[in-house]
């Protein structure tokens, strides 16, 4: 049994050299974050991530090996998350940037308040960019998918994903700069 772990998911694509434990460790965070983005509940996302890998293991022969493995796992995760949410009658979240109001009993340090404010501004700014730009940014920067995987998920080229991510990142950076100024 091979034990060498490829450095990136593109290199192995769950190929012959990668072992199943390697694959799980390599993709766990992305699957978990994807489930978390859908459900907004850590405990539920953990359970979904576990179920995703069990299903992927059982259905691995359906993976054609030509697309990015991450994109395949993404589809399983999103479908499973939606099934769970539907079953539990929970609303699915369209963006990662919706915030909840949390009760706060103690006053927070100014830098924490400032950072939270920046985060809120950034959320609002991200909500204002176009859907394709926001999704490209979320897939890569927030969920951790590679450009190749994001390109597979979105059905566009890697160059398009790179361009969208860069433009979104620059837009958000400008917003933060203006706030700081």
């Amino acid at each position: 049994m091979a034990t060498e772990k490829p450095s990136t998911s593109e290199k192995h694509d769950l190929g012959d050299r990668a072992t199943w434990p390697d694959v799980v460790r390599e993709h766990y965070d992305r699957v978990f974050r994807t489930a978390l983005a859908q459900t907004r509940r850590v405990s539920l996302a953990e359970d979904i991530a576990q179920e995703v890998f069990i299903r992927a293991f059982e259905r691995y022969d359906r993976f054609d090996g030509q697309g990015a493995l991450g994109a395949w796992l993404y589809r399983i995760t999103v479908n499973l998350s939606r099934d769970v949410l539907r079953r539990e009658n929970i609303r699915s979240h369209s963006t990662l940037t919706e915030a909840r109001e949390l009760p706060r009993s103690e006053p927070e340090p100014p830098e924490v308040v400032h950072r939270r404010h920046l985060a809120r501004v950034l959320r609002e700014a991200l909500d204002k960019v176009s859907e394709p730009m926001r999704r490209a940014f979320e897939h890569t920067v927030l969920l951790g998918y590679t450009y190749k995987e994001a390109a597979r998920i979105e059905g566009v080229s890697e160059g398009t994903i790179a361009s969208r991510v860069a433009r979104t990142r620059n837009t958000l950076a400008k917003q933060c700069s203006e706030l700081d100024a």
Binding site: A2, F32, L36, F53, A99, E101, L122, A162, A166, C176
Partner: protein, 295 residues
Amino acid sequence: MAEPEEFAELNRLLSGDLSTEESLNLMRRMLRDADLREAYERLLAVDGLAREAAFSAEAVEGGETLEGGSLRDERRQERIGAILAQTSPDAAPPRRRARPWMRPGFFRRRAPSVIAAAALFILGLSLALWEPWEAITYRGPTRIGADRIARMKEIRQGLGNVLVRVQGGDNGTESWQSVAAGGGRNVILRVTVIRDDEAEPYVCDALVPEGHLVELVMAGREGWQPESVKVRVDADYELRIPVTIHARLGPEAEVTQTVKATPAEPERIAELRAGGVRWQIFVEARPEQAAAPPI
């Protein structure tokens, strides 16, 4: 302030899209260029803030247990361990099923071999479905040869003024039977009955006068034969010879058909299915006075 090209390069650095050498070059420039360094830090901060915004306690339930959008390491290892425990952690993943036809351009590259394979498949399928009787099905009737006509005349001469029926085709065996003669013109006939499940056709020749109904099937013949084949050449024919055949091929297979036959040209007079078998009946007719066919 960083230029657009530099922003693009910084984005590529953040995305891990630069080679080691390119990354080092960019970092060296950042050490010398404060604006560039500041731009990089701002973009980096955007990524961090975005993750924080997405996975903070404000954004997700239980977010306080996360670090940068991931489970804390201990918890993460615990969950991964649970997954591996359920999916044979020591086993390699099931091998991928090869699906080369799903790759882009496969058919374009393999078009010649695919076409050849398809042709072979069709050929093989045809052979598999082909049955020997199919070859017989479309076998045409044999034609009356000059030697057979001469033989019939010889028999008639030996029997006197009678009609002659000759069975056995051209295979050398023959039998005949005399029939009371009439006064009309004589016609030479060959009736061929092809049964799809029999290798040999039934062939019977006759030299008959017009206007007479003659049974061609006689008892005692070796091999298969129809139950009954009666033929009659209508009188007063002109250029084409009207031949009526009533054939009883089996228990539920009877056919009566009339055809105006072109002299010396075999014609299919009937085709029918009975008992799961296809039958075809051909008739060839020619006046006795017509020129003898070539030997």
